[in-house]
């Protein structure tokens, strides 16, 4: 069973739809006991960092999530919440990834970064059988800097972390649930037995 954490942010449904297409069973929940019992946990997220962290704290999920030992995947804002700090609303985040999240600088690129972009420097089990320079779908205005936890990078004016990994925690800045067959492959890898 895959737990999709419901903490009051939008468009959780598309993650569920993508899992259903892969034949996986899922439950959308904010209950700690259910989340802890799932084989996989997904932290989705559309919205702003400040409000999202508030919501996590209110349901004490800020304590539950970092203690999880099964594979956890943060998507988009979900990945940023797993980082140390976000410039968005000057928010202290969960601190699993040591990266800081910053706003895209004004360098003549349209913000938000919306659309298809390539990912490279792919590393590890999340990207098994995914080709370097594959296209995935992004929607974001803030980015995580690159560091040793970076397992995929992308470029939009500057180079940033498209994906992060630390122990059982994974993050995708892009939306695998909207990234065509490549996205499905990445989700499939996350569900597979040898992900960690």
């Amino acid at each position: 069973m895959i737990g999709i954490i419901d903490y009051g942010t939008g468009n959780i449904k598309s993650v569920g739809n993508a899992l259903a297409r892969l034949g996986a069973e899922y439950i959308v929940t904010s209950q700690a006991s259910i989340i802890e019992g799932c084989d996989r946990v997904i932290l989705p997220g559309v919205g702003s960092a400040g409000m999202a962290m508030e919501n996590l704290k209110r349901s004490r999920l800020d304590k539950i999530i970092p203690a999880l030992t099964q594979p956890v995947l943060g998507i988009c804002l979900g990945m940023q919440l797993l980082c140390a700090h976000s410039e968005e609303d000057d928010t202290e985040c969960l601190g699993i990834f040591k990266n800081r999240v910053q706003k895209f600088p004004e360098i003549g690129k349209k913000i938000p970064h919306i659309g298809w972009n390539t990912i490279g420097s792919l590393k590890g089990s999340l990207y098994t059988n995914v080709k370097q320079e594959s296209f995935v779908y992004f929607v974001h205005s803030y980015f995580a800097e690159t560091n040793q936890m970076t397992i995929a990078t992308s470029e939009y004016g500057i180079r940033f972390s498209a994906s992060l990994n630390e122990k059982n925690f994974f993050g995708c800045q892009f939306h695998p649930e909207k990234s065509g067959d490549i996205g499905e492959k990445i989700l499939h890898n996350f569900l597979s037995n040898n992900i960690i």
Binding site: K13, E155, E184
Partner: protein
């Protein structure tokens, strides 16, 4: 490499695709879900579904169709057609659409854009603008170009961005249906006015037309077309291969 997007647009009436479609391997060309899946396979980057149902019954069918589409396709899609309130937009986004496209309702009530932005974020709002050139001025139109408003295209585009739209879908009613190319110079000018992505629509007749509007000539972020794709005049994989040869970044 950030890609320019190719977006087929499907007109839906009472839950069925209306335009004739020339996909030889499709069993039911009237089924929007099957057609959408086919476009996904062909590497369309996004899809737009426009509800042209005139009845309440047809509208209800559209919401359940959106739910079905969301379950079946793995790329982003936008829905539009007759969205006039927060409730309309909310029902479609909750059904699984990634973005809603609003047109006439926004020209009448720009606050609707702000309200939707507050509730769902800019990334889920596309404002569609139809306009035609009248005595040297690009005037915003509604109802398929038949009603001319007081609004001027470029100032309206700027206002739409200020209100919080995530994207502008501009259709030149002078070019729509002509198959003689997009209004490239207008798109180029829009680039100076707004910072949000602009989708070009209206006038695609050939691969060259699409290449023009996506290249230096038009500088649009995405090209939308309907009939040339539906009737199989241009296949998306062929189009993308040609664009790539012309050094236009595309997802292949």
């Amino acid at each position: 490499m950030y890609a320019k997007r190719i977006i087929p647009c499907l007109d839906i009436k009472d839950g069925k695709t209306v335009k004739g479609v020339n996909f030889t391997n499709l069993q039911n060309v009237g089924d929007p879900v099957e057609l959408a899946r086919q476009y996904c396979k062909e590497m369309a980057d996004e899809l737009v579904f426009l509800d042209i149902s005139a009845t309440q019954e047809g509208r209800k069918t559209f919401v359940s169709l959106v739910e079905k589409i969301a379950k079946n396709i793995n790329i982003p899609f936008t829905v539009g057609g007759g969205i006039s309130s927060v409730e309309d937009a909310s029902a479609l986004l909750k059904a699984g659409a990634d973005k809603v496209s609003i047109n006439s309702a926004a020209t009448k009530n720009p606050k609707l854009i702000e309200e939707l932005k507050e509730l769902f974020g800019s990334q889920s709002i596309t404002v569609a603008i139809d306009a035609k050139e009248i005595n040297g001025t690009w005037r915003v139109t509604t109802h398929g170009g038949t009603q001319i408003t007081e609004r001027e295209l470029f100032s309206w585009a700027a206002e739409v961005e200020r209100c919080g739209a995530g994207e502008i879908l501009f259709t030149s009613m002078d070019h729509d249906g002509t198959k003689r190319g997009y209004a490239c110079s207008v798109y180029k000018k829009l680039l100076e006015i707004v910072k949000i992505p602009v989708i070009a629509s209206g006038g695609a007749g050939s691969i060259t037309d699409i290449a023009d509007v996506l290249s230096e000539k038009g500088c649009a972020d995405a090209a939308l077309a309907a009939s040339i794709f539906h009737y199989g005049e241009i296949r998306i994989p062929d189009l993308k291969r040609e664009l790539k040869k012309m050094n236009i970044p595309v997802r292949l």
